[in-house]
Symmetry: D3
Subunit: 315 residues, 6 copies
């Protein structure tokens, strides 16, 4: 079994550096204040209670602070909880950095950038290619570091680019199996479909939703961005509307946030590829944490199902 | 009872000018061709069959052609059908015009224009006022002639402006009863909420959906337009996003085409005022056609309900 | 920011009289008994824990007892909780009364009574007018003091009459904008629609549901009452059935408790006015508690939405 | 196979008296008028077209007229249709009566009356017994002749009483198997549950819905009737409310017309017995018309299912 | 009121033997470990906390261990909780056995076995009879001891057989009232419908789901079993498929686990009898615990309804 | 545009051999009999009316008869209809065969067989490989000729094998992109998932559902078959249950016919690959029939959507 809090089981002893993600003050039933800490390393997160917290503790143990912590993993109401034995803030001499404690895509940023460039090189339709190129230029930094979501799938550094690049790989193969697919359109749709998240989400670490994101959502925001960009680049022709349609419809149904369902072949396939890669990402990471013969925890974003790892898998 | 095809009952004789809205060729069970005509005047429409149609007839009786027709109203499969006795195309000397045969708002265009201007004068927030003023200028002609829909409610010439002006009147009174409402925001939302229909619908007569309208819908198109206009007018501040939110959410629920539900007080009230005016428009026109003690036909857009006119109404 | 527990934030000190709404005994993790108190003043309510509660405390701190309490507002599992420093029952010399601690409509009872009388004066249909007059006479006291519900909207003293009077004001304006509406019918429907709550709810303070209310609900109970009253007053004619229909259908849909949907124009509008006033009541009170740029708490009766107060509102 | 139009197959010759249930005028594609007749005998109904109908025919062939008809059963758009060879109105000398052509319950009226009396004799609770007795007296004639519905189940003369009596038989046995059931309450609920139909439906032959029935429905009408009757008989005690609850909740769910779901044991069982008898009635009559190895037609009131008669049934 | 934990109210003192059903370790807010015990006797279960649990305690107080416990029933977050005064493991000399602490069907195993045999004797169709007989022989022991479910209804020793035998009794009476029903088919369906639970559930005490049960469910497993058994017994003819259909469809709807809805008369009735007996079982046991004039707790498997026991019930 | 009835437009003349798929007798409004023929060639089908049909015609023009027909494509109620000029049964000398008129997979049977063999060669898990090999042997002929459905997707000769082979191609690529997938399990699931259709459907031409298919459905039938085969081959181990789970869950949701949702990684992916290939098959064939700038007809199995072919597609 691998190292890290994401892989720790009940009874395991912990003695390591971790990052405070959230810290909330509470009052215990004996009337004394305590802190509820959400701690994380690059493999996962865990809750911990700091009992009898003093005023100084409240000032020391705040979000984005790294701490050295030792304790034991217990179970509380069916969820893991870290029982704290000792905790102190990290010192400069500890030589630890926030970036050590956040989960990252399993592929390097530079590789992701290269894959995106490759895909654009394969495109032939000038309108689509210019549009995509302009967006990649506009958002180059954020696009390579943002997560694809705050939770569920690809919710780690470079998650968005990782998701796009995996989807492009599926699209490439599907285009060989089904040559009727317009590869340029599908590629553009894949690269742009979630770029609205760069404005919907607040940033890379301890990500939340922006006010604009809450009130409009990434889909209409990106449809608008495509319209503005087309105007700026003076691109005309149906490509613009079709690309807006691919973005608009990629959640598949009105109830899921797409006011129009897919009505173009590549829009339908974009929706399916998005589903497939998101589900594989969630399933692989959840099954990675259980042994053959066990079920994972229930996964909210998979309709609350628990998945089984068959006995004949060699883990 | 009023005059016009919308008020004619089974057995009534008809001898009048009407406009051909649709003409479709068919083959009768005796093997001879016939034409199915949808005829209309300013009060409604009716189907008619022209049996034994000759090649010349097919050329004469086409959409947007006015005809002089005499016949009798029959019933066929539970719906009214006009039995044609005689029919001829209108002549220039007949002195009849297409505009005579289309339904119009019960309020003059100039009155509607004045009411819009009045509302803008009442507004004080400069960002909102400039935005609204710019849109009214941009679309001034279409805004005063377009219908609000292809069917169901306000589906007549100037229907969109009629709908907006009625909604403004409700908003004005609600603002007095509930002074917490931001009148400027509510007015702007009302005026802009359906302007996307000017691009979603094909025109004023024999209206259909544009390709862009089918693939994107008027809501995301208008959200984009507001973004473009704000950029053009260099308007900044939260007014832009809030106005986009009002437009985006005005259908109330994801299943009804709003990817975000109302999350601002005026957005919620805009949705309710929209519902109220649309329903009053449908109900009044349907109940106008029945006598006390009768039910209307089932109305699809009112959840397929038939409405009853109580006996104590004086019609 | 206004005074009162409904406006207190985390960290605020409290030193005031409050009313005990609920008191429940529990056992702490150290094995000692404690009391969970729900305390309220005229602006809202808060939970508090009385640790190490003695037998005497259980007898002293009971529902409808007023207490003098000092403490500090803390946060517990995301909700406010009052940390008790000192608490004692109120004395006669404190000169405080239960009626000081319950929320009341922002309009005086006498004004509400006058508004109802005015509305009845405007009515011309004798059957409807006699019916409404008889009910107002029958229930005059309760009608002016009952809340409209146990929670969500108008859940305060005189809430029912406040709701009715606000709805009448909307109806009056709508009747001017849409003269097709039968004002007498709409007024009668508004005044009677929720009177069944006088039998469904247990009373004015610490309101619960009666057994009859749970088994039948206010809608069928009021339909029955109208039938009985018509018999008593020997009123005949369709007005009785139509009025029963307005009451029966005012929740709009079978799933929401109306076995028949609105099938009369005024029934549909009654339903919409009811929605509009209930929502305005909930929204205004929730938004009153947040600052510009903030979201309210999620509101269960508004489909669990949180509402945003734009930055450009002057609070 | 049995005799009668309900059992006739495509190709069968017909030469018999039938009752006209509906007659509608139409115009054929050759421009000549025709009549669409819905004809019935005691076993079922069939559509027939009378081509080239003259003015006299329109006057002769009207609803509730008995006709002597000969023809052949054909198929038209997947449904049976009677091809008319000859048709004439019945003469007094033909010695046929409307009552010969309507379907009747398979049990005699007098037997049904006796069974109801027996059930009342078994009851011991005086409040319930007096209430039921009063209703049976009030509606004695209609109760023994009305159908239970206009279509689907027990839609024949005495259908309502037949349905009640079958349900009482099930209740009697269930009470033996589950002695916890309050037999008196269950019996009263069964006898009264659908009596509102006597006011919701227009009569015994060619039954439609009354205006009151459409606007209120039989359930709230019967709840009101119980309230009025209790007042008249000066019955007090919880029996009245519980009986109203049984009637109110007997459709089981709000979506099915019960604003409150069953919340009393006997209410839940009443709902299930109602379902069971209605379904057996529909299934037996539909399966009676097919041979082993065949499926019935799709049955709308059985969720549009077609039922299979196994090969090992001896028909 | 009856004896046993299922009937104990808040404040009652307890001094009795109970069985530990579950034991979970936790950490209290003072940092000390505690055990959460779920204790049961033959009438119900209750939660209890063992504070300051030592390592020895963790080893002593484990599932399926009988304990002698004294304490008091308290309320915690609206649910009963046993406050432990003293607890010790049972000794051999205490003369108590696991079987004393599990709920059992109110009918003896031998009686249930006889009733099953009787039913088989009544059957005449040889294919159905041989099939049923073979299954009863195959599963004779488990069939008489298994519960019908892990919770909700008949979740006690011999619950499955008790459920089957009650259903057979209803079927017998229904067959008399509706002689069209094929008794042999209905009996076979009732006896076999839930036998898949013998493989879906893990056993008689502290029952859980098997992996196979989770992945396939008892319905498809039993359809397969019938196919295998028919092959083994060399039974041919439509009886096999029809019996598989009865089992497959007995949950009534796809959403409830039946991929095909009932399409044979006896399948529909089997579904209704199953519902009726399950509901009577749940209702009788819940109402047994409340007094006249009270509501039961909300019952999850009854659509979360609370049921009322009328005042005129003699308890 | 391609040849064949599937590509013919209104006004096109037809003079070709076609196969009668259905023939229904009707009576025209002039009282004369006619035949409604559904005619097909390898590209599609069309309705035609044979007016004034004589007894001989009824005998000549029957399903599975090939005819030489000339006529013109007309439009009737919005659908194409062939107006018959001349028609005669085909003669032996015409040298035409039923197999010429049925649609076939675009890939040869032998190629499909080879692809299946290849896939099995790639498998390494002996239990899975033996199982799959045994089924392919058992059904070798039908598996290569059956359609995958009666309508919607792959509803042509060899459609089932074509569907399987396309899915295997996707699976092969996905396994490279996501090496966590168990290729053997996914391959087995794909090959077996729809084999139950060989018993659910009646055959290759004019395919309908068998009685067993209607009552049980292909999913439970195949789960049973796997159980029987495992017994026959004496295969034990979890592979059998997991394979049954893949088949059982491949429709994804209970409402869609899978009583258990996918709970194994490969089950989830099997469901998605199935969807993807079915949708591509429907989309490609529908879009093949329209020109750039046009929408397809509404497709029932694609949630009734019409799909758009962008202008920039080169057809």
């Amino acid at each position: 079994m691998k190292n890290g809090i994401g892989f720790a089981g009940v009874g395991d002893a912990i003695d390591d550096f971790m990052l405070i993600k959230e810290a909330t003050k509470g009052v215990a039933s004996n009337g004394k204040p305590f802190l509820t800490l959400i701690l994380r390393d690059a493999t996962g997160e865990i809750e911990a209670k700091l009992w009898d917290a003093k005023k100084e503790d409240e000032a020391l143990f705040v979000p984005e602070q790294i701490v050295k912590i030792s304790g034991e993993v217990n179970q509380f109401r069916g969820r893991s909880q870290l029982k704290i034995m000792a905790v102190r803030p990290a010192q400069p001499t500890d030589d630890v950095y926030i970036s050590d404690f956040v989960e990252k895509a399993p592929v390097e940023k530079s590789v992701l950038a290269d894959k995106l460039t490759e895909a654009i090189f394969e495109m032939k339709n000038p309108a689509l290619q210019r549009m995509v190129r302009a967006f990649i230029k506009k958002y180059q930094e954020d696009l390579l570091t943002y997560p694809a979501a705050t939770k569920n799938h690809h919710e780690y550094v470079s998650g968005l680019a990782h998701h796009i690049v995996s989807m492009l790989a599926i699209a490439k193969e599907l285009h060989i199996l089904y040559p009727e697919l317009n590869k340029d359109l599908l590629y553009s749709g894949i690269i742009l479909h979630d770029l609205g998240k760069l404005k919907e989400l607040s940033g890379v670490v301890t990500t939340t939703y922006t006010t604009e994101g809450k009130l409009l959502g990434h889909i209409p925001m990106m449809v608008e961005e495509i319209g503005l960009m087309a105007k700026e680049l003076q691109i005309e022709g149906e490509e613009v509307v079709i690309l807006q349609h691919l973005v608009l419809s990629h959640h598949g149904k009105a109830e899921w946030g797409s006011p129009k369902p897919p009505m173009v072949r590549e829009a339908e396939i974009l929706h399916l590829i998005d589903l497939m890669d998101a589900k594989m990402n969630m399933l692989n990471r959840a099954l990675d944490k259980v042994k053959p013969g066990e079920f994972t925890e229930r996964m909210f974003a998979m309709d609350n199902r628990a998945f089984y790892k068959p006995l004949f898998e060699e883990n």
